[in-house]
């Protein structure tokens, strides 16, 4: 049991239970899961695509995938994490479709003033993204987060970020080189 499952109030079924009920065709379970997860999923996907229609379609498809695939879902993982993976893939599918029609629906990664994470109101949990990644230029970070952290392919990353595949590859190798140097300098 992880922290999220534990936190849910007593009396409310946890995600795994609800997924089990969905597998039996219980639509109320889908409704509850939607109310629990649609907000953050929409917010996170919106952060990756400026077009709200594209995001909404991806959210809908992710929940439908959960509904239809509930029987195959294994309760070992966390539902939220699974939903995120599916949602992100569906978003990429939708962006790809838009791009075929010549519409660009990607945010441009812009240079930014670094935020000092010490000034954040909450301590950040240890994530798969190490703080050393923050030393890279934003566009390199974006590629690294998409590939190394989210586990997207080069093609998927290219679609999500709205840049050519070649650019994804060159940025990846540049980022790796910089990280390697940073790590070896840190060891000395």
């Amino acid at each position: 049991m992880n922290s999220v499952t534990r936190e849910i109030r007593t009396g409310e079924p946890d995600d795994a239970t609800l997924v089990g009920r969905m597998a039996d065709g219980n639509r109320e379970a889908l409704d509850l899961l939607y109310r629990r997860h649609a907000g953050w999923l929409t917010a996170r996907l919106q952060r990756r695509c400026p077009d709200p229609d594209v995001v909404d379609t991806a959210v809908q498809e992710a929940f439908l995938a959960a509904w239809r695939g509930a029987g195959r879902w294994k309760p070992s993982g966390e539902f939220g994490a699974w939903l995120w993976t599916v949602g992100l893939r569906r978003l990429i599918d939708q962006i790809r479709r838009q791009q075929r029609h010549g519409r660009d629906v990607s945010w441009e990664v812009v240079g930014s003033e670094p935020v000092d994470s010490g000034e954040l109101p909450l301590a950040l949990t240890d994530t798969r993204v190490g703080s050393e990644l923050s030393r890279l230029a934003p566009e390199l970070q974006a590629v690294m987060v998409a590939t190394a952290v989210e586990g997207l392919s080069t093609g998927e990353t290219a679609i999500l970020l709205g840049i050519p595949r070649g650019t994804v590859k060159s940025r990846m190798s540049r980022a790796r080189k910089l990280l390697r140097t940073a790590i070896s300098e840190g060891e000395q």
Binding site: E7, G39, A43, V115, P121, T127, V129
Partner: protein, 292 residues
Amino acid sequence: MTSEHDAGGTDPDVTGPPEIGRPETELVRIWRSANVDPALEYRIEETLVSTVSGREALGRSVSAERLEVNRLIVMGLAAAPRRGRLERLLVRLGVSDSVARLATATPALRAAWLLATALALLFALATASNSTASGLDRVIVYLTIAPLVPLAGVALAFGTAVDPVHETTVATPIDRSRLLLIRTMTILVTSIAILVVGGALMGGPAVAAVAWLLPALAVTSGAIALSPRLGPQRAAATVGAVWILVVLLVGSVSGHSAAVFAPAGQAFWLVLAGVAAILVDRQRRHSRYFEA
């Protein structure tokens, strides 16, 4: 505590630091600002989604109306049966969504019907290869069974008990008879494809692969013509029984078991199919469910 509307349980009472200016909400504000680099953005997201309060804070950045509209869409789509491969193909070919759904949701297209058809064809194949007769007589079992395949399909295509999209059917602004025709066409196309392939395997004369076509049209349209009166299942059962009787009777009287498939017989089936089609068309005109 900042507001009362959270009494319903959006505030976590288990974890998180004390509610000083809602740290999660503040974190979401920073996350939404443009000057967060991708790595930090991801770390903030992971931090937020790891707690219920963080998830809720993230969710509050999306309008409630938007989430509600999407919820209704998701619930509506979940209530509908899923779109199958054939349905997707039809939509891609330019058939409208609702027609594609209704045509392919035809219960008869389901595995049971296909399985029954396959078994019947295997049986026909077995009898054909053991038969000592020649010509069409050799494949008489196949010829007799073939028209029953679309007939059974049509029987299953309508009716509340066997129809997974019955509610959709009733709620769709297509009149029922047109729907019946859409489904019948789907069934006929599928049946003909299967039966022609099956017929080629039978090893009878080439004409055997198509000799059942007119009888099939005749019995199927006959069953449709009778279904307003008898109901689709009973109409199909009646017509099917009559068909088998006619084949057996004519066969034994003439001495050729495949006599009903001879040219004279074919002409008769053509006329019968035509009459049934006229009847169906007349019923269609008189029974528009959704006409003002």
